[in-house]
Symmetry: C2
Subunit: 128 residues, 2 copies
DNA sequence: GGTTGACTTCGCGTGCACTCGAACTGGAAG
DNA sequence: CTTCCAGTTCGAGTGCACGCGAAGTCAACC
């Protein structure tokens, strides 16, 4: 934006590698409104700032914890509306955290089943 | 099988409710080879034994921990081959357990990001 | 100044795991 | 006997999250 705040910007390819997504996905995220329109250079190519990359990184964490793209879009819309939506965004994160926590509890339970089965197989293998 | 071991069997609907899947899914699992062909009554309707239900329950745990249906099928095939595949089945479970554990570690990390963001929102809300 | 390679948009294709509609059947209740 | 419900098979449809091919553009390097 400002010439004084000019930072090192990344191309789609570079940004993709940094955040562990493909260039396809990065463009698609933008198209889907998960990412505000990314700045372009004189040739119309995307230039990702550090802030853009940070945002993308956050998105990958939300995605990885199972947040649907639909909800990520909702979150992005809130974020674009500025400070007035801070509480709403916090609520969104808290609700999501609750889901993640119960997902983790589920996994702990499932892990017990796996361990139980493995033990059983061990025993059964010995008794042949 | 044997008249003496006749147990209470369940219909698809009942079995579906017991394991938390739909009747559609139960039939589809059978068709996909995740479940050995289920016994039928005189009218050709499926009758699920306790063993069938136990197996389905295990499948739901595998599924919930992120095992692809493809791998579940592979596991089912091994199970149908009897005791000769005990070691292979254990190996399959151990590999899967490793994936689940790293998934859980991932979630722990992601949870930290969520907590961090929530804290930040709290602070930002106070400073308005 | 030509070649290379990474970018652009557009829209269709893919993989996974179900999900459902259609047409039919059979057993149980009133 | 009729009504009704839960079951049957078959194949087609859905939702999600991308993935990719085509056709074109542009900057950089030899």
């Amino acid at each position: 934006m400002d010439i004084s705040t000019r930072e090192t910007t990344l191309t789609v390819g570079e940004a993709a590698e940094r955040v562990g997504l493909t260039t396809y996905t990065l463009r698609w995220y933008e198209q889907e409104g998960l990412v505000a329109p990314v700045g372009r250079d004189s040739a119309g190519r995307r230039r990702y700032t550090e802030r853009d990359v940070d945002w993308l990184f956050l998105l990958t964490r939300l995605r990885r914890t199972g947040m649907p793209v639909r909800d990520m879009r909702r979150y992005a819309e809130l974020a674009r509306q500025g400070d007035a939506t801070l509480a709403a965004r916090r609520a969104l994160f808290e609700a999501h955290r609750a889901r993640v926590l119960s997902r983790m509890a589920e996994l702990e339970e499932d892990l017990k089943v796996l361990n139980y089965k493995i033990d059983n197989y061990r025993r059964a293998e010995r008794c042949r």
